[in-house]
Symmetry: C2
Subunit: 242 residues, 2 copies
DNA sequence: TTCAGCATGTTTGTTAACAATCGTGTCAAC
DNA sequence: GTTGACACGATTGTTAACAAACATGCTGAA
């Protein structure tokens, strides 16, 4: 199966795996909304949590910041990113520009094995939904999109999708009505059908509608839900004149 | 007096600017093919070149690796990335999936000022071409694509384009016939015309044809031009299996 | 009581020294 | 003459200590 395959890049030492794992774990926690936007990510806490040295954590945070999943504030530390309305617009726009093509590519390349895996995943997703297991439902619906990118067979776009899905979770956490999940599974089911028929055009259309649907569920004009950090608003990280 | 200080930097002090600058400088050098694929980027040399500490260089290299512009080999150092044929395919595929949409967005949003700036840029590009100034020509033709992404007004996609353009330069350096530049300016001129007419569909089509044209100029079946690194072939850092 | 100023503790940022690994050159043996 | 092993030098990876900045709580005066 193509999923979770041996996708180790050239830069893989045994330690490096641990590094990438830290990033992935934090990605996952953000997707599941266990780490809400604005949460402070203290270095020492992360060192303790992952049982690694400070350097490793520091590098992981830098990597996360380069994907705009965390923000680095000078002398204040790392925080889970708090996308602005403008950034949210850009994320949705980027997804609309990219993911329909991913769906198209996936429809052209999906093997029977791929489709079976997606169907199994969708089943888990539905179960989580039915059981009211919100956390799993969110994670699984996000993972569906990354699985599709894996089926599409392009690691560059896979990396982009991972970033965009994670940031979407943050956006929904901030601007979405409480209780709203990332995706409806109905759309995902339709997508799998299109893949079964190898209908690239239909897959693209479904994905586009699906993304617009998600976008409609958030209200970017709403004030950022989670408590605003008044510090950076009023004191501008002011470097006090010495 | 400190009350409403000029706080233009939100998440970065003056030092952070230097960091991003290092990354940008290296990006530019790679685009201009002053740093061919496989070039070793020694830490001490970079420290000397940029006049900063080792830590800063190390972070910059990690950032560059996360964009797949450099490769990090354990205990051996950093090297300018050497895209495989498969990676090259993925880069072109990603550009074909993304950049036509960027062109579309740019056509919808370009102001007169934007178009004038692009036209001025194209003029420089043509001059560099006419003067046989290969290095400038390459850099400018790459910058044209990033400028287009700026006009499109989406910083997420701008970041992706920067990465893809840089990697394309590496690919051309490896698999392209010597003397081949990244783009023809004719296509760029047509693109500007489409923007003038606000014809998004035409802009998209031109961009697609343009990218296919670039792709045709490289021969991915050709053996990687610059000496193959037998080390990564035989010592297990390369995965390529299954 | 409230607010300004100050001192303290905690967290981050930086530097330097140390340890480990790798590439290279030399020397000896076949 | 070629090949293998060994040792040395150089570069990277890691850790720890140090310095600086921020946040917090306390004291004292208005």
């Amino acid at each position: 199966m193509t999923l979770a395959g041996p996708n180790k890049e050239q830069l893989s030492t045994a330690e490096e795996v641990a590094e990438e794992q830290i990033v992935d774990r934090i990605f996952e926690a953000v997707i599941e909304q266990r780490l809400p936007a604005g949460t402070k990510l203290s270095e020492s806490a992360l060192c303790q949590a992952f049982g690694v040295g400070r350097m490793r954590i520091r590098r992981s945070l830098l990597l996360l910041a380069s994907r705009e999943v965390v923000e680095l504030h000078s002398n204040r530390g790392a925080f889970v990113a708090r996308p602005t309305a403008e950034q949210a617009r850009e994320v949705f726009e980027a997804r609309l520009a990219i993911e329909p093509n991913v769906a198209r590519m996936a429809a052209n390349r999906a093997t029977g094995e791929d489709i079976a895996a997606l169907a199994r995943h969708l089943e888990l997703e539905s179960q989580a939904h039915a059981n009211g297991n919100r956390r799993d439902a969110i994670r699984l619906s996000g993972q569906f999109h990354t699985m599709l990118a894996e089926v599409a067979g392009n690691s560059v776009m896979l990396r982009m999708i991972k970033e965009l899905v994670t940031r979407t979770s943050l956006i929904i956490g901030i601007y979405g009505a409480p209780g709203v999940t990332n995706c409806r599974d109905d759309d995902h089911a339709d997508l799998i059908d299109a893949l079964r028929k190898s209908d690239a055009e239909q897959a693209s259309n479904i994905m586009e509608a699906h993304l617009r649907h998600i976008e409609e569920r958030v209200d970017l004009k709403a004030s950022p839900g989670t408590g605003v950090d008044l510090i950076s608003v009023f004191c501008g990280t002011g470097k006090r004149g010495s």
